[in-house]
């Protein structure tokens, strides 16, 4: 099977998942107890407003019709009207997407920048003190509530030491880099334990390979061996780990955006919770779901592109 047909096959496999994602977001409205329109708008809402929302959500039609309506609108880029902002949700999404993508990429890059040296250090001498330290200390990151760590960084590095802006998205490329350092670091720290662990494991695996023994026998110096021969091969599984954990990464950005007042999808969703703006919550969940599905596809493709040894019969 060639490269193209592998990618095509993955695209086809995507369809049922994508349909499932729409079904779940569609059914969210039916999980609301009581009459959803009344619950969303509050008990004292004007009956005509309730009727209008019923109509917008299509609640007065049979379930299957409602779903068709939902899909039909989706294909026309219509995600409904925000109940709080009174603007189309699609325009809110497009304006809030860039900061989130920025934060995700920034956090992924920082995560890799922190994890690669640490994992290399740990793997370079298995079971030495540094290996144990690097294996145990990142465990702290697993139990770290992102919003709390964000608050702490914000207070100490932002408010007290004034090293970084406390909130905001910044202006221009360097502005973004500077403003979003703390939020990106917060998200990256949560990702590091997983990345370090998988990188270390795959580096140890590569270290046992015959070509490494050959290189050693040839007299390749240790640092060069680690970077040129081992790391390059060990990084490929790490890419997959990064891709698999995109959902986890997004979960981290959600609350961190709120803490640092970054105008992204996470802030949009959390503000929508405070404003009880159901259509926004539903749409953001859908966008995140689609984002994860797309990133997983990209990961598979990147894996194939990075490693020429991968066969296409998966």
């Amino acid at each position: 099977m060639g490269r193209m047909s592998f990618v095509l096959r993955r695209l086809v496999l995507l369809v049922p998942t994508a349909v499932g994602v729409t079904i779940i977001t569609f059914f969210m409205v039916h999980l609301i107890p009581g009459n959803p329109a009344v619950t969303i708008l509050g008990q004292r809402a004007n009956p005509s407003t309730v009727a209008a929302l019923d109509k917008q959500l299509g609640l007065n039609q049979p379930l299957i019709e409602q779903y068709w309506l939902f899909i039909d609108r989706l294909f026309h880029g219509n995600l409904g009207q925000s109940l709080y902002y009174q603007v189309p949700v699609s325009s809110l999404i497009t304006s809030h997407l860039p900061p989130t993508l920025w934060l995700l990429c920034y956090a992924a890059v920082l995560g890799v920048a922190i994890s690669v040296p640490l994992a290399t250090l740990a793997a370079s001498r298995k079971d030495a003190v540094r290996d144990h330290v690097i294996r145990v200390v990142p465990l702290l990151g697993l139990g770290l509530p992102a919003f709390w760590f964000g608050l702490i960084l914000q207070t100490w590095l932002g408010t007290k030491l004034r090293l970084f802006p406390v909130t905001g998205y910044g202006q221009g490329f360097t502005g973004h880099l500077h403003s979003m350092f703390l939020p990106a670091l917060t998200v990256a720290v949560a990702l590091c334990p997983v990345l370090i662990r998988s990188l270390r494991a795959s580096m140890l695996g590569v270290l046992g390979a015959e070509f490494v023994t050959t290189a050693r026998a040839k007299g390749v110096p240790a640092p060069r061996l680690l970077v040129r021969h081992v790391l390059r091969n060990a990084v490929i599984p790490a890419v997959t780990v990064l891709g698999i954990n995109i959902g986890y990464l997004i979960g981290g950005t959600l609350i961190v955006e709120q803490v640092f007042a970054i105008p992204g999808l996470g802030s949009l969703m959390i503000n929508a919770i405070f404003e009880r703006d159901f259509t926004v919550i539903q749409s953001v969940a859908l966008v995140y779901g689609v984002l994860v599905v797309l990133v997983n596809l990209l990961t598979d493709v990147a894996y194939v592109a990075l490693d020429p040894r991968v066969r296409f019969d998966a």
Binding site: I24, G143, W148, F149, Y248, I250
Partner: protein, 298 residues
């Protein structure tokens, strides 16, 4: 579900050694596993402190004292000071721990049970049951855990019951994947074939013969899952969707304290540290158990 390393369904050992010797080796040496022991001791201390709260503090976590708000560390007999309503922080920390630990424990048991049942059905019977369950799993994992939990708790209404429903509805998929993977391999082994030819019912084979042999992987995973659940509960409470005030819990304590971050740093910092240490204890246990399983105790 928690962050996953490379493959979510762990590759089962090719040919496991006879079960009896493995179990014996594990029983003999589990306490020599330093990671596991550190984690267990740490967790025991945390549980003891939270549930023995009445021994460690004489203050009631809910008693307000509006004449003594925002006291610093150690002032007027308050070990960790007081919050904006004059309630003792140390007492709230301990009693809040009871709430968070209980909710997290229940929130990990429910998906564990549901996922194990569905995973073993999928793995043992295969066919359409397997296809349907695996498709559903694919869809659920397409959503980031936090996004779906927050959205579900929002639509279901705030509070403990919604947390359980939301986490169970999403968390079961990891257990189902793990159990399915293990059972797909284990069901071809001779002891299962023997049980089948002996005419035992499928239910009995799964419950009495297969599950006891494959459940350990899920238990190891549960340790990292419960860390994730604690963070989810604390985050939901921080957002006002979880444990409702005045019930003390670490998430609401963090959110209440954040208005006083620069003056009374301990109000936000200390509950967060409690979360991190609890998470560390559970992660160490999970790691230790995983090591133990990999090496068979040596």
């Amino acid at each position: 579900m928690s962050a996953v390393s490379a493959d979510p369904a762990p590759a089962p050992a090719p040919v496991p050694p006879p079960a009896v010797t493995r179990v014996r080796a594990r029983r003999a040496r589990w306490y020599r596993q330093p990671t596991l022991m550190t984690g267990l001791v740490l967790l025991a201390v945390i549980v003891f402190m939270c549930y023995g709260a009445s021994l460690l503090t004489s203050f009631n976590p809910d008693t307000q004292n509006l004449e003594q708000p925002l006291l610093g560390l150690g002032q007027a007999g308050h070990l960790l000071g007081t919050d904006q309503e004059g309630r003792d922080t140390w007492a709230r920390l301990l009693y809040g721990g009871q709430v968070d630990l209980r909710v997290a424990f229940i929130a990990v048991i429910l998906p564990f049970i549901l996922g194990t049942i569905l995973g073993s059905l999928a793995g043992y019977f295969g066919g359409w049951a397997d296809t349907v369950i695996m498709r559903i799993i694919d869809i659920v994992v397409a959503f980031p855990f936090f996004v779906l939990v927050i959205a579900l708790v929002f639509v279901l209404g705030t509070g403990e019951k919604s947390i359980y429903i939301a986490i169970t509805a999403i968390g079961w998929v990891s257990y189902a994947r793990i159990t399915r993977g293990e059972i797909t391999v284990a069901k071809r082994q001779e002891y299962v074939l023997a049980a089948q030819s002996g005419g035992l019912s499928s239910l009995r084979i799964i419950g009495r013969h297969l599950l006891p042999n494959v459940v350990t992987q899920s238990i190891v995973y549960a340790m990292s899952d419960i860390v994730q659940d604690i963070i989810a509960i604390v985050t939901l409470s921080y957002l006002g969707l979880g444990i409702q005030p005045p019930t003390p819990d670490w998430g609401t304590m963090i959110s209440a304290g954040q208005n006083f971050l620069t003056t009374q740093w301990q109000l936000t910092t200390i509950p967060g540290i409690a979360v991190v240490i609890t998470g560390l204890a559970l992660s160490l246990i999970g790691d230790g158990l995983a090591d133990l399983l990999r090496t068979g105790g040596s």
